[in-house]
């Protein structure tokens, strides 16, 4: 009787989990499925669950309807440059905060505070300044605004990590005759590699997914992928096949990245990285 009860309980749990997974994954599944259908099949109700997939929509998006490659390169450029800058500036700062406590307890919270600025407080001034400087719709337009989010994140993420590294390691190396800079390069930096990689991935995900700043500060030339998806909402209607194909190609790299940083997700979230 007892085992029977337990078996029912376990079965119930799996049913609930299945329902949750269905609700979670169906929208993503449906996007991918729609992108692989012929335009005629897209509107068939009841839907055809088994069909011959076609890459027609992907071909249209990549080579015919929009300059997809350019927008892809824009996204890659913005993500790479802003992430590198954030790491280059943020890691030394994080080290200094963790080891020497520069600026006392207030400096870290001051650094974090810029990422809580409402988006319009940041974007209106950048729009007006870039308009005067002729920087609107260039590939550089997004890098500075993105740093307001990425840089505080890198500092906090890396600071927490460095604090957990025992300081003895560096000190031992320094007693052995290394200078601090040498000890950093040869001992601390290799230990920090996984954390640096994780924070880089979070920065890339943020830059890749950001929409509002890109919508306002870029146009025909420099727009990134999330803004480019707007091209498929036209006067004549929504191009569903191409829209979902572009959406799938935008989301796919992020899912791969998420898989890589799975383990660090909680800490990443604590510093609020996934959403600008």
């Amino acid at each position: 009787m007892f085992t029977m009860k337990k078996a029912i309980k376990i079965a119930l749990m799996y049913i609930v989990v299945a329902v949750i997974l269905f609700a979670t994954l169906f929208p993503i599944y449906w996007m991918v499925e729609t992108s692989l259908k012929e335009p005629v099949e897209t509107f068939r109700i009841p839907p055809k669950w088994i069909f011959t997939p076609t890459l027609e929509n992907y071909y249209q998006v990549l080579f015919v309807s929009i300059p997809f490659t350019r927008y892809l390169l824009n996204s890659v450029f913005t993500a790479t440059v802003s992430t590198l800058l954030a790491l280059l500036l943020g890691i030394p700062c994080a080290y200094s905060l963790a080891r020497f406590r520069v600026g006392g307890p207030h400096l870290p919270s001051w650094i974090l505070s810029t990422r809580f600025l409402p988006p319009f407080v940041v974007v209106i001034p950048f729009f007006l300044m870039f308009r005067d400087l002729g920087l609107l719709d260039t590939r550089f337009a997004l890098i500075l605004p993105y740093l307001t989010i990425q840089l505080p994140f890198v500092v906090w993420f890396m600071r927490a990590f460095i604090k957990e590294l025992p300081a003895d390691v560096e000190e031992a190396a320094m007693i052995d005759g290394c200078s601090r800079v040498e000890a950093l390069r040869r001992i601390v930096l290799p230990l920090m590699k996984p954390a640096i990689a994780a924070s880089a991935v979070f920065c890339v995900i943020f830059s890749w997914n950001e929409f509002l700043y890109a919508l306002i500060l870029t146009g025909m030339d420099a727009k990134t992928l999330p803004v480019a998806t707007l091209s498929f909402i036209t006067e004549r209607g929504i191009m569903w096949g191409e829209l979902t194909a572009a959406g799938t190609m935008t989301v796919l790299p992020v899912i791969v990245f998420a898989f890589i940083v799975q383990k660090h997700m909680v800490r990443g979230l604590t510093y609020g990285m996934l959403k600008g």
Partner: protein
């Protein structure tokens, strides 16, 4: 070691953040005191608190503020309850749960703009899957986002779909860091599962809940992407939250001064929420 090294390492970050964060803040405060309309270049003149006073008599603004609060309260409550439920369910080791935990996280890495578009496809009246599923159970088609009464809940559902995983993940991490001994002692005392949850687990979890809710509230105050692509603020203005309104004022009507005042208003709300939550956090950890 050079004496100035620690300072030297911090300085670049401080300078960059001062110029990309705090300079824009001062710039925004400054323009919010002007009547600055890019569509009519010659109307730039100082109005002092004029823009802020206009906010109070602006029906669109007041309505979008209320809508933002409804959005924020509704989404956060739903996400907290669902997230807590799923976290409690998943806080056991069973076959396949590791994979499930990863799969459940996927919505939150989906580009929010794309999430808005995907749900636009699902909500479609004629060809959307939601109406198809309803029809299987014998219900007639619903207009979903095209209906003025349903539009706001529909937009909120997208937020709940995308961000419940985040609430779940933070609460699960909180649950897993609870001291095991306390929970075991309660079990020995013969407390029922519910009593144990109500009197032991929940009180210990409060600090985690406060932090998780604060993060969700901050994000909900920033919401723009998914709403913009799902409804654009319509039908009528039924889904126009504060950021969509600020966008319309600033980048459709080009009234930069007034948009600046709205942005500063959002900043003040953000600061009030943060203060309240920090206060709550202090009390809950005492």
């Amino acid at each position: 070691m050079p004496k100035k090294l620690p300072l030297f390492l911090v300085l670049p970050t401080v300078i960059v953040l001062a110029s990309v964060g705090f300079y824009p803040l001062i710039y925004s405060i400054n323009i919010s005191l002007y009547d600055l309309n890019l569509a009519i270049a010659w109307t730039t003149y100082f109005v002092g608190a004029g823009n802020y006073l206009s906010l109070f008599s602006d029906a669109w603004f007041i309505e979008s503020t209320w809508r933002t609060f409804i959005y924020l309260a509704g989404c956060t409550t739903a996400e907290l309850l669902l997230g807590l439920g799923i976290a409690l369910l998943m806080n056991t080791e069973m076959r396949g749960f590791r994979t499930f935990r990863f799969l459940i996280l996927l919505p939150m890495v989906v580009t929010p703009a794309v999430a808005g578009l995907v749900w636009r496809v699902l909500y479609n009246r004629e060809f959307g899957m939601l109406n198809y599923f309803l029809s299987l159970f014998g219900f007639g088609p619903s207009p979903w986002v095209a209906d003025t009464n349903l539009a706001l809940p529909c937009v909120m559902l997208v937020d709940i779909w995308q961000w419940t995983p985040m609430m779940f993940l933070m609460l699960l991490a909180g649950l897993q860091s609870l001291p095991v001994e306390v929970l075991e002692v309660a079990g020995v005392d013969g407390a029922s599962a519910f009593q144990k949850f109500r009197h032991v687990t929940l009180p210990l979890l409060v600090p985690t809940i406060v932090v998780a809710v604060l993060f969700r509230v901050m994000d909900a105050l920033k919401v723009f992407d998914a709403v913009y692509l799902l409804t654009g603020g319509g039908p009528g203005l039924t889904t126009e939250v504060l950021n969509i309104y600020a966008y319309r004022i600033g980048f459709k009507f080009f009234r930069m001064g007034y948009a600046g005042a709205i942005a500063i208003f959002i900043l003040i709300i953000t600061m009030i929420f943060t203060t309240v939550f920090i206060f709550a956090l202090r009390r809950s950890t005492e």
